[in-house]
């Protein structure tokens, strides 16, 4: 924080001497966006480590099933579409919040929630399918790395959904006040960030995995 140190208290004045003489306000949440961005960057490092683990163990099948046998790219394509659609609907929610249209915000948030839930449902279906085939995380290092990376992303989406529903209740009850607008912006960053991570997942895990 840049504090002004150019002016010092003139001699003889009774006012207590503070270094920061420039009057300025710090409204609540003034540093929230930067702070939340820094959180996302640290989250990025978690995913980087999980991607590194995938890179190291992605081909360690231990004689078990390979990505080519397990992954259904059509399902992954549908899943990717769900997440991308949820991203654009969240973008429309943000535009509606700029225009102060509360009903539209709630509508677009609901659409985002539905696409997010569809994504999770498809992912859970895929996971249960894999477990059913005996391709659980304990089968091989490849599957351990797969479930950890994709599962962590899915967990993030789950918490994003909980946050989304909570925020919808808050917007419905208290309107588009500054605090809620700030929360909408934070969730916007979070949600789009998860989509960025998914680009890495579908490219490196699914597409490149199938080609191994």
């Amino acid at each position: 924080m840049a504090t002004t140190m150019t002016e010092t208290t003139p001699p003889g004045t009774e006012a207590p001497a503070f270094w920061d003489l420039d009057p300025h306000e710090h409204p609540p949440g003034a540093s929230t966006m930067l702070g939340f961005w820094l959180y996302l960057m640290s989250d990025c490092l978690i995913f980087a480590m999980l991607f590194a683990a995938w890179g190291v163990y992605g081909a360690a099948y231990a004689g078990g099933p390979t990505p080519k046998e397990l992954f259904d790219l059509k399902l992954v394509a549908v899943n990717t579409a769900m997440l991308l659609l949820s991203s654009i609907t969240y973008g429309f929610a943000m535009i509606s919040s700029d225009e102060k249209r509360q009903g539209a915000v709630l509508g677009w948030l609901a659409a985002t929630g539905l696409f997010g839930a569809a994504f999770l449902a498809i992912e859970l279906y895929e996971f249960s399918h894999l477990l059913h085939e005996g391709a659980g995380p304990q089968r091989s290092a490849f599957l351990s790395a797969f479930f950890t990376l994709v599962g962590t992303h899915g967990l993030h989406v789950t918490f994003g959904l909980i946050w989304l529903v909570t925020l919808m209740v808050q917007v419905a009850r208290r309107g588009l006040e500054p605090a809620n607008l700030r929360r909408l912006q934070c969730l916007s960053l979070f949600w789009h960030f998860l989509d960025v991570i998914w680009i890495g997942v579908f490219t490196f895990v699914y597409l490149l995995g199938v080609m191994r």
């Binding site: 840049a2 300025h24 306000e25 710090h26 409204p27 949440g29 003034a30 540093s31 929230t32 966006m33 930067l34 961005w37 820094l38 960057m41 990025c44 490092l45 980087a48 480590m49 991607f51 590194a52 890179g55 190291v56 790219l73 059509k74 992954v76 394509a77 990717t80 579409a81 991308l84 991203s87 654009i88 973008g91 429309f92 943000m94 535009i95 700029d98 500054p178 607008l181 700030r182 912006q185 960053l189 789009h192 960030f193 989509d195 960025v196 680009i199 890495g200 579908f202 490219t203 490196f204 597409l207 490149l208 199938v210 080609m211």
Partner: protein
């Protein structure tokens, strides 16, 4: 880079601290542009892998990775509204720092583990003798 940060400084101060929360927003048009590009950049790699249009796997892998990188940049610009001015350039600084760490961690891990795997192959005779 530093010139950008400086240029953003005075303008930012003139608005006062109340503008801190005001991250740059997109327009409907910019969101749709980002969405269109993302659909294209997702559809191409999926089509290439599922359709087997190119026989050479190395080429397909290269295209997929390149398009993923492009799509990440598209998302950063159109969805996350990254630019050198938001928060006086600190978000971009944090991002650059993170990218450097991620590249070091990823490249380092893959390099070390690849060579370890290579050297720990069972029954492998070390040329120089142990």
């Amino acid at each position: 880079m530093s010139a950008d940060t400086h240029a953003a400084g005075p303008g930012h101060d003139a608005h006062g601290h109340g503008d801190h929360g005001g991250a740059p927003h997109g327009t409907r048009r910019s969101y749709l542009t980002g969405f269109g590009l993302s659909v294209l950049l997702t559809a191409i790699p999926f089509a290439l892998v599922m359709g087997n249009f190119i026989a050479n796997t190395q080429v397909v892998i290269g295209i997929c990775m390149a398009l993923a990188l492009v799509q990440i940049v598209v998302h950063m610009i159109y969805f996350l509204h990254m630019n050198s001015k938001s928060e006086s350039g600190w978000t971009l600084m944090a991002l650059i720092f993170t990218i450097i760490i991620v590249v070091i961690a990823l490249a380092g891990t893959l390099w070390v583990m690849f060579h370890m795997n290579l050297n720990m192959m069972p029954g492998m005779e070390m040329p120089g003798g142990m």
